[in-house]
């Protein structure tokens, strides 16, 4: 079982190196079209990097499905350690742990990664760096699988960091463009900031519990001193906020839209941002032992979900709408965790992965067709591209929580748990926090419905605002999207198996009512003039929302500019003080030498005179003092 789990993560890892080293040569071997040739040239089966990218992920998918089935038939935690690294204090066990959570999340990661790889074959076919791109996706996938299956915090941290660097390379794939390279640097720095806290949290937890093994930590979390558990949980939350783009560290995610669209799908649906929530779910025992950390998580989640939903309402870039909706939906999961609904949060993680991957890949189809990211350039696309339209409709419906699509089940489960905690007093959070989370969730439902409706209407309805030809793009793109639409539509019904995930009448009615309010509002605003952006109904707040409450500007003033000014001062200090001191010693020595150099005047007769005088002196001294 453990061996099987390790073989799930292995093929993409090997594929990353194989693709990096020999992707193009395999293409030549298969006599396919070389990289960088125009799209459509050459069959995908003769594309070396594409084969190296897709086949191993497909193998991983099959293996992870076997793991999931095995865990489903025989639940329980299985751990296994390859070796125990003796560090002198707390040992590190290089091992994996498979339980229900890891199995389903691993299956989800493999599904989304395969969809993204297949989509990328066609989407990136004209790109000359496709080979390294696909290799980085493979590495990214294997790192995420390592995070999912790891049984030890240090091993988990390794995967966590590899994901960070892969996201940097993938977001900066088009590094010739300044916006891409800056977005990559920003994503790397911001997540790095969180990772510092995460590493410290891992160390605090490991030293406090005396082990880095996750199952033992979770089992003994109740025995930890209160201060240790709180400190560890808060430090871990810093890393989670960084990776999962929660409130103070969320600014990298919208900028990361500069990367290629399939990367956005991968980062947003399956890997990077899901890792943060997954880690909280994995170490939930620690968080249960630290109610303060859960309260902080709840407040952060409410701020993130409402704020980013407002921001999504006013974005004029389709991908940025989806990016802000990701922040918002992740915050919904975090809210579920904060009120103690672990399984509901994980359920929402899975359904979100399905519909967000669908939405991003469908957005990729729209972008390929329209040649633009801007909502203002779309309109009336439903007639030309029916497959994309219906798939994306399913995605938006699931995002907004329209019954009976998957998002409705999972979001309802979270809302219901929050309602229960607010009304009856939760076991893990105080009533105030639970009320805050509950109200935040309800507001988010309204806002989510509104921005999903707005994006949907502006993309597919009304008059066409561009001069491009509207038709469904290449078959491989469209059918990947259609294939993803199936889980996005029906995944919710799997939740009926668990009693805590079943929808309940009161909460469902309330959320459907709120959904209708939000969607109806957006529709009325749009219906007044379908040619214009419904966001204009927001009035003066629109700018504030569009700039996401000026958080970026605030950070620029408070952090970026002082740091740059400090750096300038350091450079000046280096040049004016340190360098000047070094150069000054050299000049002082030269001047000192100049004092005795006057005898070297270039006249050999003077030299000879000195020589003779010296000889005479020595001779005299020898004669006198002998």
């Amino acid at each position: 079982m453990i061996w099987l789990a390790s073989f799930v993560a292995l093929p993409p890892f090997l594929a990353a190196f194989a693709g990096m080293l020999s992707g193009p040569s395999l293409t030549r071997l298969l006599r396919g079209a070389p990289a960088g040739s125009p799209p459509g040239a050459g069959s995908p089966l003769r594309n070396g990097p594409a084969l190296i990218a897709c086949a191993p992920v497909a193998v991983s998918l099959v293996l992870s499905a076997i793991v999931a089935v095995a865990v489903w038939r025989d639940p329980g935690t299985r751990t296994g350690a390859l070796t125990l690294v003796d560090t002198g204090s707390v040992p590190i066990s290089v091992g994996l742990q498979v339980d229900g959570l890891a199995a389903v999340v691993g299956l989800m990661v493999c599904c989304v990664a395969l969809a993204v790889q297949v989509f990328s074959v066609a989407y990136m076919s004209g790109d000359r760096r496709y080979s390294s791109y696909a290799a980085f996706i493979s590495l990214f996938t294997s790192a995420m699988l390592l995070v999912v299956y790891s049984g030890d915090l240090i091993v988990l941290y390794v995967g966590w960091e590899v994901m960070g660097i892969c996201s940097y390379f993938l977001i900066g794939h088009h590094w010739e463009e300044r916006s891409s390279s800056r977005a990559a640097v920003k994503a790397f720095l911001v997540t790095r900031l969180g990772d510092v806290g995460f590493l410290l949290g891992v160390i605090v937890l490991g030293v406090g519990a005396g082990t880095f093994q996750i199952d033992r930590i979770v089992r003994t979390a109740g025995d930890l001193p209160q201060s240790t558990a709180t400190a560890a949980a808060l430090l871990l939350l810093a890393g989670v906020a960084g990776k999962s783009a929660q409130f103070p560290l969320h600014t990298w995610l919208p900028d990361a839209m500069a990367g290629p669209t399939p990367i956005s799908a991968l980062i947003h649906a399956a890997t990077m941002v899901a890792a943060g929530i997954y880690v909280v779910a994995r170490l939930y025992g620690v968080f249960l032992a630290a109610p303060t950390a859960l309260a902080v998580l709840g407040v952060v989640a409410v701020v993130s979900m409402v704020g980013s939903a407002c921001a999504a309402l006013a974005q004029d870039d389709l991908k940025r709408v989806l990016a802000y909706s990701t922040i918002s939906q992740l915050a919904v999961m975090a809210a579920g965790l904060a009120v103690g609904a672990e399984s509901a949060a994980v359920f929402h993680l899975l359904t979100h992965a399905a519909f967000k991957a669908l939405l991003f890949l469908a957005a990729g189809c729209v972008i390929v067709t329209a040649g633009s990211n801007m909502l203002a350039h779309y309109g009336g696309l439903r007639r030309g591209m029916p497959l994309t339209f219906w798939s994306m409709t399913v995605g938006f419906a699931a995002l907004a929580g329209v019954p009976p699509f998957s998002g409705w089940f999972s979001k309802d489960a979270v809302i219901e748990a929050a309602q229960h905690a607010a009304l009856h007093g939760g076991e893990v959070t105080s009533g105030g926090i639970a009320w805050l989370v509950y109200v935040g969730l309800l507001v988010t439902v309204v806002l989510t419905a509104a921005y999903a409706m707005r994006a949907w209407l502006m993309t597919f309805f009304g008059e066409r605002r561009g001069t491009y030809e509207v038709r469904d793009p290449a078959r491989i793109l469209t059918w990947t999207v259609v294939a993803l639409a199936v889980p996005a539509a029906i995944l919710g019904f799997f939740g009926l198996g668990a009693p805590e995930l079943r929808p309940q009448l009161g909460a469902s009615l309330l959320s459907v009512l709120l959904l209708a309010v939000g969607a109806g509002g957006a529709f009325l605003a749009w219906n007044r003039d379908p040619a214009l952006d419904p966001a204009r109904a927001l009035g003066p707040v629109r700018t504030v929302f569009a700039r996401a409450f000026f958080v970026d500007e605030l950070y620029a003033v408070v952090i970026v500019r002082p740091v740059q000014a400090l750096a300038r001062h350091v450079v000046q200090f280096d040049q004016r003080r340190v360098d000047a001191t070094v150069l000054g010693t050299g000049r002082a020595a030269a001047r000192l030498g100049g004092l005795v150099r006057f005898v070297q005047n270039g006249n050999p007769q003077t030299y000879l005179t000195g020589l003779l005088a010296g000889v005479a002196l020595i001779a005299a001294a020898v004669v006198i003092f002998q």
């Binding site: 390379f169 640097v185 005047n601 006249n603 050999p604 003779l612």
Partner: protein, 133 residues
């Protein structure tokens, strides 16, 4: 003949030669002074050869060597003086100062140019470099 006479003459000759090398300005006269010194040495060699009644006459043989070397040296020396004269229209030893090291602040050498510029002060603050992947 007493040994003192030739040795004193040789010492005087040598002193005159040293004075000439150290004090004359004309390069030809300096060369002539060198000859005087060499000949003082020759005189000594011959004197002591006679004084010790050396059977192999090592002193006289060495004198012949010295004379040959002196001839070669004066040939080279005069050639150098000629070339100097052709280049500079003078052969004043005092004014041939090419061996002197130039003054440190007169003209900075190229290697020091950068630092000299930088310490001149008021350099513009460098723009922060933008990193790129």
């Amino acid at each position: 003949m007493h040994l003192a006479y030739p040795t004193v003459v040789a010492a005087l000759l040598f002193s005159v030669g040293v004075y000439g090398v150290l004090a004359r300005r004309n390069a030809i006269l300096v060369l002539m002074s060198v000859e005087l010194m060499l000949n003082a040495v020759n005189l000594n060699l011959v004197t002591f050869d006679v004084w010790y009644r050396d059977r192999l006459h090592g002193g006289q043989v060495l004198t012949l060597f010295t004379i040959v070397i002196a001839a070669a040296e004066i040939g080279l020396g005069l050639a150098i003086v000629l070339l100097v004269f052709r280049n500079r229209q003078m052969i004043d030893v005092d004014r041939l100062r090419a061996l002197a090291e130039e003054a440190p602040d007169a003209a900075p050498r190229p290697a020091e140019g950068g630092t000299a510029d930088r310490e001149a002060g008021a350099e513009p603050a460098p723009e922060p470099e933008e990193a790129s992947p």
